[in-house]
Amino acid sequence: MALSADEASRFATLLEENRDELVASWTDRVAATLRGRLSHAELERQHGELGKGLHAALSGGGRLLTDEQSAELRAQLSELSSSRARQGFSATETAVSVFALKDAVFGILDRVGGDAILRDYVAFTSFVDDAALFTFDSYVRVRESLIADQAEQLLELSTPVVKLWEGVVAVPLVGTLDSARAQVVMERLLQTLVDTSSPYAIIDITGVPAVDTQVAQHILKTVVAARLMGADCIISGIRPQIAQTIVALGIEFGDIATKASLADALRYVLSKSNGR
């Protein structure tokens, strides 16, 4: 429901005349729900600015949150949600920051009095509701982008390529090896082989709980790619249960060297490189 031009201007005046009282009452209410996790001064500053933004939107002729005149206010609300989301506040705590304005306004309307209090209040309430919903939406958007960022970081973190010895790099694989991770592993391994000009690479699968044909295929492809670049690959971390499963599945690793532990693989590589 859009505010009428009349209502909008009445509210703009109300906000202007009672600014300090409104901000103080609003801040008190929000501070109570956030239980001291944001300082009073910080909240007061945020609410002061939001109050100004709201006043600017209403006095500029904005009657809906989606109006052009409310663009500045929307930007402020987005900023508020994004900072709350990053500070770890819940969606409710974020939306309440906006909803609390209704109570603060009601307090003032109640004191000021007048014939059309209820009508005005209802109209203004729907404007604030829109603002709170908008805040909620931006909160969710920020959180989703945070999760996407973290998933990406996790992918990078979970596939380290380490230099184990002069000329020997190792990739300790932990967890599920899906296509996306297999791709990252291969890229990193091949790049590290170039950067360190290592003739040996050890792929350690101690942390991979089950080796099925897809995992095996990913590992085999990585080994073949490394070989094309002139590096010898050893697969280590083949535990008894994995060995039996691989045999039953019928997967063949051909002439690729495999070892039970990373230590065995390193010993094998060192003895080979000393021998020549």
Binding site: T176, D212, T213, Q214, I242, T245, G250, I251
Partner: protein
């Protein structure tokens, strides 16, 4: 005697991971040996992926079963995909219509104790596997 069945809808790669986790917890709960756990989890992973890739998605049902002498785990993979026309060919090691190694179906049969397949072109595929506790 049989317990409640756990059912997972398989629609994406994440669901295959969930199937694997469910089978592993059930296998641990049924006190399967580490080797048998790994074999069953691997078989489930292969068949669930087949359900997803070749069957276009479907359901996986995991249930603990028991008869007079022993107990174990039964898993049913069902899809409404195109079905398998030539079973003998499908069970040939190294044969695949996709891009895998062609070992999933035949390998999974070797990883479990009982393996039943019910399929026909156009009718979908239903595979029931059972692993008994030793």
């Amino acid at each position: 005697m049989s317990d409640e069945a756990d059912v997972i809808e398989v629609r994406s790669d994440q669901d295959v991971v969930r199937v694997r986790q469910l089978v592993r917890t059930t296998a641990v709960g049924a006190k399967l040996s580490l080797v048998d756990q790994t074999k069953l989890v691997t078989a489930a992973s292969e068949l669930a992926r087949n359900t997803l890739v070749y069957g276009g998605g479907g359901t996986v049902e995991v249930v603990r079963v028991a008869n007079d002498v022993r107990h174990g785990i039964r898993i049913v993979f069902a899809d409404r995909g195109p079905g398998i026309a030539d079973l003998e060919l499908a069970f040939t090691d190294g044969y695949t219509t996709g891009s895998g190694l062609g070992l999933g179906l035949s390998g999974a049969r070797r990883l479990v104790d009982e393996f039943e397949i019910d399929t026909a072109p156009g009718r979908g595929t239903s595979i029931t596997v059972t692993k008994w506790c030793r």
